[in-house]
Symmetry: C2
Subunit: 430 residues, 2 copies
């Protein structure tokens, strides 16, 4: 049986599980790849550091470049832009295929790396970069290759999904739910990358680029996090038959691609509504296939290692039998729309003075900016009944551009009869 | 650009959509496959028959064998065992790859066909054979190739899922829900294949074979349909926080593979509980990845055609660039367990005489057959309160073999204090 030399760069939570599985499942992996996967080394910053799994000291090295030069497949699990990018380019130059889980690097330099791999006639695989074990990269790259994708909607950040879930099921405030997530190790001490949506945005860029065969980078993705979501927003959503989720959206419109991350009201009968806690899920809408969903664990050493190893098996089979991974040719090269041009339905919650004619004034402002209203109703927060001379109005719009909606909100905020705009949130269709 | 000659056998609901998409999306498909997909002909029984899509008369032929001899890729959408099997073997003999959606053929002769394809060094793809557009064959064959699958649980028959859904949401009887499904065209005039579980069993055989690299045929799959499910079973499940679903199960146990189709109580927080109407979904449990789910449309011309075309793109790329589909080597060759040896939790509903000591007698019978009880409670059907000298008992067991459970039921049925065993149903864990 042929042999394929595999090098691992980085030995953290995922890397150590990859090393474990490569050793424990050696014969199964060989049967599937058609070649023995020969682990030739693990590059780490400090060979003396403690490890989560047992690794023969002879395999550990601090010289990644020398290790790469001997490999057929390089598994990059260092993360971040540099030195990961340099190592990957070194691997391509040496004729090795690369498997990576590096979302930051792909969101910043994906198209360049795809092209470098194609030029070197080697594979670049990155299932683990988006949504852990969920095989959505596979889905977009291969299983929908006979169809036209129209939209991708994902819950791709487990930390924010856990926080929103706790707010929903336990009535916690954002701050309390975040503190609990930190205490349990689900959120980092500095939770910015998760709660502000940046982690989801990197994944959104990768998904949009894959789905639409176009160049979408992190900076193209409009981001809104969940820090401003209140317990009352959640309670009000529950009353109306919605859950609040942080959704990464990539959608093809006639003039280009929408790519944004924002909290949204999701109807409880939508498949994404049932995705709880640390699970991730990605809905793909395509012309012929209609709606598909891929669901699974979005993080964790073993689930992510499973995704890495399936990529390694595919890359190894190509070393032995020929063929290659689909090339991400950016052949469509569609433009990315500005945030203002993105289209959604919205829900706006207002506090208005309780006067005759206020409803006409409010709806008139929406109409003036070309924002069509689907429904409007008055809602009294529990305990507030008759306590004030104000009414809570909830307005749900039809599809409108973000800029028309923004202009509407600005005029509402200025209006004399409006005491405050409480919340503005996107609404997903069921 | 290279050309790949594609022949379509059969032009029904799916075939006509495949022909439409091959023509309409010609340039997109070429970009992804790296070759122009040249439709060289469509074999039909009667060239004069009316078609759902416009097809140039020059493409239609009644001579499938002659068409196959000129093809690089043969798309088999005739269904049934013969002549489909002969045509596929003719294609392999002529050096052509095959894409099929033929679940009956694969469930009966899958391993032989996989081996014939491998010997001819061509591809056999069959994403459309299981769960329409849902890419679960892909998931099992490729995206979990770096992991050990422990179980596959699927809702793979839309007709029964629709019937159970209508019974749940509208309180219909089985007969009324079936009549409605027939009126809407979701169920056939003779609904046997769907409601008795045979359609799901064919898919179960394919899934089990793929998941465990073993030879599992239709006859190995133990089947129970949904005809005996009553409105009261559904109402009682709802009260207890469950929904009733027809589940195809393939599970690896220490001594072999379980493969069966049976209705089951599914907890409402299980990802399969939210799969409604015509949608299908398959949960895959794997050692490292934990639980994944693939969800989408299980039938219909366009969704199924999407699955067919993704297979065609993959097969075409291999014609151009080398490489091949994963070979389904039956290397593990695990035995399939007899139905009696399969293990589940069960729920048993009994009508017992309302006497002192009955509970002790009932639980004693379970214990005597080694069936451990998880919980037992008395339930009064609405309107029945105090109307009889009988009590309804509901017993939920821990995991037990089907044969131990069967022996328990037989003794219960004979017991003097038991007026009747109303229902026995499997229970999925959340």
């Amino acid at each position: 049986m042929s042999e394929v030399n595999v090098a691992v760069l980085g030995c953290g939570t995922v890397g150590s599980q990859v090393v474990r599985l490569l050793q424990e499942q050696s014969s199964e992996l060989a049967a599937r790849a058609g070649a023995h996967l020969n682990l030739i080394g693990v590059a780490v910053r400090n060979v003396a550091a403690a490890r989560e799994v047992e690794i023969s000291p002879a395999l550990l090295t601090q010289d990644a470049t020398a290790l790469i030069s001997r490999a057929d497949i390089v598994i990059e699990l260092i993360g971040g832009i540099e030195p990961a990018r340099t190592y990957i380019l070194e691997a391509f130059a040496a004729g090795a295929s690369v498997v990576t889980g590096n979302k930051a690097l792909l969101a910043a330099h994906g198209p360049e790396l795809y092209e470098a791999a194609a030029r070197a006639n080697v594979d670049l695989y990155y299932e683990a970069a988006v949504a852990g074990a969920v095989p959505v990269v596979y889905g977009l790259r291969e299983s929908l290759s006979g169809d036209q994708i129209t939209a991708v909607l994902g819950i791709v950040n487990g930390t924010t999904n856990y926080i929103l879930d706790e707010m929903t099921t336990k009535g916690l405030t954002f701050e309390a739910a975040l503190a609990q997530a930190q205490a349990l190790g689900y959120a980092e001490a500095d939770p910015t990358a998760d709660v502000e949506g940046y982690d989801a945005a990197a994944k959104c860029a990768i998904l949009a680029s894959l789905a639409f065969h176009s160049r979408v980078c992190l900076d193209d993705v409009h981001v809104q996090g969940i820090r401003h979501i209140t317990a009352e927003d959640i309670a009000s959503a529950t009353r109306a038959g919605f859950v609040v989720k942080l959704i990464a959206t990539a959608r093809r419109r006639p003039k280009g691609i929408e790519a944004f991350v924002a909290p949204a009201l999701v109807p409880t009968n939508h498949p994404l509504a049932g995705v709880h806690g640390p699970f991730n899920a990605v809905v793909i809408e395509a012309e012929a296939a209609d709606r598909l969903m891929f669901y699974g664990r979005g993080a964790g050493g073993a689930p992510t290692a499973s995704a890495v190893l399936s990529d390694v098996v595919a890359a190894a089979a190509h070393r032995v039998d020929g063929g290659h991974a689909p090339r991400e040719l950016i052949y469509a090269d569609l433009p990315v729309l500005s945030p203002g041009a993105t289209i959604s339905s919205f829900q706006v919650q207002l506090l208005v003075h309780d006067e005759v004619g206020v409803l006409t004034e409010v709806t008139g402002i929406f109409a003036r900016h070309g924002v069509s209203i689907g429904s409007v109703w008055q809602e009294e927060a529990p305990g507030e009944k008759h306590a004030t001379a104000h009414s809570h109005l909830v307005v749900r719009t039809h599809a409108a551009t973000q800029s028309d909606l923004q202009a509407t909100i600005e005029e509402l905020t200025q209006a004399e009869f409006v005491a405050g705009v409480h919340s503005v949130i996107r609404v997903e269709e069921s």
